[in-house]
């Protein structure tokens, strides 16, 4: 599936795949997207992480030329979203948040419909559809009307429909929403295989999804990008404190006080001690506990999560 990639103008080889400039969208007095500035490189998988209503889908809708920005603009492979919407539509593939399929058409027909609308010839559509259905584990259900498929199957078909015409840019809006863990993992594996070959803008409110898949993550809240970076950059740059968790017996008041004097936060709960500070000395803590006669059953440094990052940035938990 490499011979039908629609080429962007040659002079645009070095431009970003997606670039936005103060992209803003209002719905009445509600600011859904508030001056977003983005630059996504070609071949990058960029994830928008944020709660429902944060502005993720609105941003994608503007980039897909379905919504006009109230102000600001954006370019997709150098094409302006306001002036060249049909050029953009030729090079993008979209899997919307809702699993929107033509329910009385079978899987092959749904794929063929999108393929034909992108002017792909019938033979290629047939071949690519078979390949897609095989990749998505839907070969056995190729001739079934999609209303008879499970939610997971529909979601996989929806993603296949975004890819059937071999687009340069793929928008995946909450691709695993509502899927069971097994189906979610299967979709992740497939998306991971596309990394590097396609530019992917993915929205999610699953932290582990962004963590697992994304090259870079933009944390979006109330229409603004609150933080941007790789998963580890976000965790290390934003979460300044480190946390050590110790499961221990015979914890004495004396050693607890000793640790509290030395480190910023020490909490005890059901035999579990959590110690947090900007600088943690793992060896020092273990030695102090041993010296005090405490039996340490296990101890580890807790890695910060994106949830911690989100909490730190927005002051609220990511609603899932």
């Amino acid at each position: 599936m490499t011979d039908k990639v629609k080429k962007a103008p040659a002079e645009m080889n070095d431009i970003p795949a997606i670039q936005t400039s103060n992209l803003t969208r209002l719905f009445g007095s509600l600011v859904a997207v508030d001056g977003i500035n983005l630059e996504i490189k070609k071949g990058e998988l960029y994830a928008f992480l944020g709660p429902n209503g944060a502005g993720k889908t609105t941003t994608i809708s503007m980039l897909c030329c379905l919504l006009k920005p109230t102000s600001g603009t954006a370019a997709v492979m150098g094409y302006d979203i306001n002036r060249e919407p049909y050029k953009i539509k030729q090079i993008i593939g979209v899997s919307p948040q809702e699993t929107t399929l033509s329910e009385h058409l079978n899987s092959m027909e749904n794929l063929a419909l999108v393929g034909h609308l992108h002017s792909i010839d019938s033979e290629k559509i047939r071949n690519w559809s078979k390949l897609m259905l095989e990749t998505m584990g839907l070969t056995d259900r190729a001739k079934d009307q999609v209303r008879k498929l499970s939610g997971g199957m529909k979601r996989r078909l929806s993603i296949a429909m975004a890819l059937i015409h071999n687009p340069q840019i793929i928008f995946l809006d909450e691709p695993t929403l509502g899927l069971d863990p097994q189906a979610r993992r299967a979709v992740w594996d497939y998306i991971a295989r596309l990394k590097g070959n396609k530019t992917i803008l993915l929205t999610t409110h699953y932290m582990e999804e962004a963590d697992y898949l994304a090259d870079r993550i933009g944390i979006i809240d109330e229409g603004r990008i609150a933080a941007l970076g790789t998963s580890s950059e976000l965790k290390t740059d934003i979460i300044e404190k480190h946390t050590m968790v110790v499961y221990a017996w015979n914890l004495t008041q004396k050693v607890i006080m000793e640790l509290r004097n030395r480190y910023e936060e020490v909490e005890i709960s059901n035999g579990t001690m959590t110690i947090s500070d900007k600088k943690l000395d793992f060896k020092d803590i273990i030695n102090r506990l041993h010296t005090a006669g405490t039996v340490v059953r296990s101890a580890h440094i807790k890695e910060p999560t994106l949830e911690d990052v989100f909490l730190k940035i927005t002051g609220k938990e990511l609603r899932v």
């Binding site: 379905l66 919504l67 809702e98 929107t100 009385h104 999108v114 034909h116 609308l117």
Partner: protein
């Protein structure tokens, strides 16, 4: 040919959904069956007709005995003068009276001998019964021409007519029912688009390079095909219930198809403006039911105030009723209905252009 792909997809969505297909096809056909059963039986209406013979010849008497009295729906009573006939008409004892003027036999004889002539009959009727009067006039017209063995029209009706056929109640009603059946394609034709809007499938389709006109054509063509099937069944059922198509079947078919295309076009406009299936259907019914009444699908528009008739004339359906009724019951050709025909063609073109503009505006809000 993106519109072709969208068309085949809409078609599959329709015929693979038995409930939707059943509604689309069965609803108007049931309507036709009910009306057909009610008005298409052998129970023909009977009208009391008065006749005044001012010619007093054997020809005029023969006309009364062999033509007027033979019309199956007439009970004929002779009057000596118009005053007494008018009195009976006022009392509701008769529905109309026909005056045979002096010189009638001369005109008939001239025409029978191949010379020029003008048969004049004066019919006075109760204006409050426009549908009945229309039927009486047509029946008298047909009988007169049959009697005189002429192809030229009599003065009471200047349209050429097949003289061998009796005009039945069904002939009048069927055209109205067919136009009504096609008029209710307004709410049904936008259904797939609105369903796609609600399910957000349209959102996905709008991310493809398909143009607004291709969407409108795709959604409409499947409905046009469905309308063609509907019209075939409408005419077949009408015929089974006794509707005689005196004029060109194909001209009648073309008129009905244009009517359907206008309805589908309006449906596309409504669907483009609406956000949900419920909203679209409510708007459509609100629009189509008053239009059905105004257009004379059930009742003749003759009794309506002139401003209402003018208003109804803005829309295609009153033209469709008049033109199709003229073709079916009076056998007129294209030359007699070309104005209505062109009006329907223009309306179809304009409404689809408006639908496409509105759709393109809603494509990107």
């Amino acid at each position: 040919m993106r519109f072709w792909q969208l068309f085949t997809r809409s078609l599959k969505e329709t015929y693979r959904d038995p409930l939707a297909l059943g509604f689309l096809l069965a609803f108007p056909l049931i309507f036709m069956l009910v009306f057909g059963a009610a008005f298409g039986s052998d129970t023909t209406p009977s009208y009391d007709i008065g006749i005044i013979d001012n010619d007093h010849t054997e020809v005029s008497q023969g006309f009364i005995d062999q033509a007027i009295s033979q019309i199956s729906i007439f009970e004929v009573t002779s009057f000596d003068d118009t005053d007494s006939a008018r009195e009976e008409l006022k009392l509701g004892e008769i529905s109309a009276y026909v005056v045979i003027p002096g010189g009638f036999s001369t005109q008939v004889s001239q025409i029978m001998q191949g010379m020029e002539g003008d048969i004049v009959l004066n019919i006075t009727y109760d204006e409050s019964e426009p549908m009945i009067s229309e039927q009486i006039i047509s029946s008298v017209n047909a009988a007169t021409r049959q009697f005189a063995q002429i192809e030229i029209p009599v003065t009471i009706n200047t349209d050429p007519i097949n003289i061998g056929v009796d005009i039945t109640q069904m002939d009048f009603i069927a055209t109205g029912i067919i136009v009504f059946g096609l008029l209710i394609m307004i709410p049904t034709s936008g259904r797939i688009m609105l369903r796609d809007k609600e399910s957000r499938f349209l959102y996905r389709m709008l991310t493809t390079p398909a143009k607004p006109w291709e969407f409108i054509a795709g959604y409409s063509l499947s409905m046009v095909l469905l309308a063609t099937i509907q019209i075939f069944f409408f005419i077949l059922l009408g015929w089974l219930f006794g509707m005689d198509i005196i004029g060109s079947l194909w001209l009648a078919f073309a008129l009905f198809l244009l009517t359907a295309i206008c309805s589908i076009g309006i449906g596309m406009v409504v669907a483009s403006l609406s956000k949900s299936e419920n909203q679209g259907e409510s708007l459509s019914w609100l629009f189509s039911m008053p239009l059905a009444i105004l257009s004379g699908v059930w009742f003749s528009t003759e009794f309506m105030p002139s401003y209402m008739r003018t208003f109804a004339g803005i829309f295609p359906f009153s033209h469709a009723v008049e033109a199709s009724r003229a073709v079916i019951t009076r056998g007129v050709g294209m030359e007699a209905i070309s104005g209505d025909f062109l009006f329907l063609v223009s309306w179809a073109a304009v409404v689809f252009i408006i639908g496409t503009i509105l759709f393109s505006r809603t494509m990107r809000s």
